[in-house]
Symmetry: none
Subunit: 203 residues, 4 copies
């Protein structure tokens, strides 16, 4: 029987995690421009000094948020199964995330804009985008060899377009663009891949 903390309500599962989550939410709503350590601490209900107990500097807290956001994004990357199953699963998970977790995309947007001024962040994005692109291209190639997709596809250009379009979708305030734009765009991906809508992105 595992008993981490005896008293139910006093349990503080992880202050670090709470603080990162609060900072994440603040960045999503106010941007880096409006990120204040005091607000983050207040959101968690602790003193500002407690925040500094866990994260010596604001920068360290931001690193925590970066790790959190990138890790959540990484979970959409292709997993197991045949190439076409992986590809569809990946796109499906992305579409879900895009529609359900606006916050994550907002934070990723903030991070992308920050990257040029943040050497380490730049490295992270370069690596992550590189992995994403080559996985996508590799999947398309294998699907073509497979016969699961039509030949004649420019897998390189297609992967680039898809990534770029998804990044664009993540940006807020498209002309009253609600979630339906995401559906439309993913439908276009289907056309480009030569997959009829009824075979595409249906669980």
């Amino acid at each position: 029987m595992i008993d981490e903390h005896v008293s139910g309500s006093d349990a503080r599962p992880d202050r670090r995690r709470e603080l990162v989550a609060a900072a994440f939410r603040r960045i999503a709503s106010d941007g880096f421009e409006g990120l204040r350590t005091r607000d983050v601490a207040a959101d968690v209900g602790v003193n500002i000094a407690t925040l500094h107990y866990y994260f010596p500097t604001k920068e360290a807290l931001i690193r925590g948020v970066i790790g959190y956001a990138m890790q959540r994004f990484s979970q959409t990357l292709p997993g197991e199964g045949t190439p076409i199953v992986q590809l569809r699963g990946h796109l499906y998970r992305l579409l879900q995330l895009l529609k359900e977790d606006q916050q994550l995309w907002t934070v990723l947007g903030e991070l992308v804009l920050r990257a040029p001024r943040d050497e380490e962040l730049g490295r992270i994005f370069r690596q992550s985008d590189g992995v994403w692109h080559s996985k996508l291209k590799g999947l398309i190639d294998r699907c073509v060899q497979n016969g699961a997709l039509q030949p004649m596809l420019d897998s390189d250009g297609l992967a680039g377009l898809m990534i770029v379009a998804i990044k664009g979708l993540s940006l807020p305030t498209m002309a009253g663009f609600g979630p339906e734009v995401a559906d439309q765009v993913f439908e276009q991906f289907g056309y480009l891949l030569g997959l009829p809508p009824d075979q595409f992105l249906t669980t």
Copy 2:
């Protein structure tokens, strides 16, 4: 007695422009997060109080930058000519701007992320995206009626994808994504529109 004021109106009507341009550059390099009125004033070579003479608040200065950026973007919108010429011209100008003026796209990115927190800016983007989308869709439709483009195109979805992809392209630090990614993506637009590369985006 020295007369500093050469002409009545002081012959410096473009202080405002200079200040906006300097703020624009600062936002491009440091983001809103790093925008300091003192830096802007220093870049132009005037006192901070002088900046406030022209722009009573920092917000007012930012309004100036917004106007400047949106106007530059608007210049890429379709102009004169037959539908297919307008479409190709629009895309060509966008591609040029994308490759030549990274600063503008960075600032637009910052503005987009700011929009959810800035009612007015949100309105501006919603309107501007709406205009963009309907012009693009209208052009495609007319090209199809024209016979300049293949029928069977989902002009609505296509316009959406193009806008979204261009927005995505504007974000910095794609995995070592240099200007060639933009070319690749626009090439994919050609495929989607059914235009062979040699007819597309050649001046």
Copy 3:
């Protein structure tokens, strides 16, 4: 007739000087340990931000105090006249300063203790002590050649002793040691130099 500032009460001769003087007083009474920029600003009657307008950092303010203290000390160094007149004048001025301006000596004490941790300050003291020592020794030597002082004096050791004793005198809280200790010590200098009290340190 010189008229620096027309309006009498509004005249602020020099905010920098006022701030340095206030910091000097605070160091004299509370030590570096108790130096607070807010207190300094309050003493002058200005906002804390005003202090930073003149001195970008606390360190810069401290530099100002160092310059002020060293300059006041330097004014006691030997000036004009025959060697014996210079020597007596120098010692006389030191004795006066020692008895009249306890603050200066306290601050000098704080500075001396700070020197090992402050490269620049260390340099300043090494130079200043070097100048002091060689001037003193030079004067004694010339007095001896002059016949104004007895031969057989170890001018080097004597100069060292005098400097060291004066530094010691500058430290606070000698056993109820009031100003009379300073008189006693300077009297001993007289004996060492072979000068009868009635010829020594009388204006």
Copy 4:
């Protein structure tokens, strides 16, 4: 199961001593200005809360350091033997301490400067200086009565000068003043006492 507690009383009776010694070292190197309880605890390798277990406040810890420093200084005070032997022994021990334990003198310097703001410390110094002065004067007087020293000495002034000079010697950063200055100054003491160098300060 490992049993950390070897003996009942935990065999660590000198935690206090360790903490005081660490605080002493910190004051010697960084001054009171730079004394941080956390650093002291870390130097000893214990938690900050453990420090507060032994010393409820920072002030209490400082009291410990004061006691430690004053006690070490007291050990140089005159002990047993004929007056002239006591005098020479005292001065000899002082000279040794001056040359060997720079840390002690630095800490004493810090304490002296603190005395005006610390009632208790002021009392301690006043008493200690008083004892020192009267012992020194008493010894000189008895030596004179003894015939061990020349008559005609102003024992009061002489004792004052010696104390003051030793205090001055304890201050750091005399112009490249190394240990040799201490020798020079003590040699001057010999002249003042009428003791030829070969009889003075030789073990």
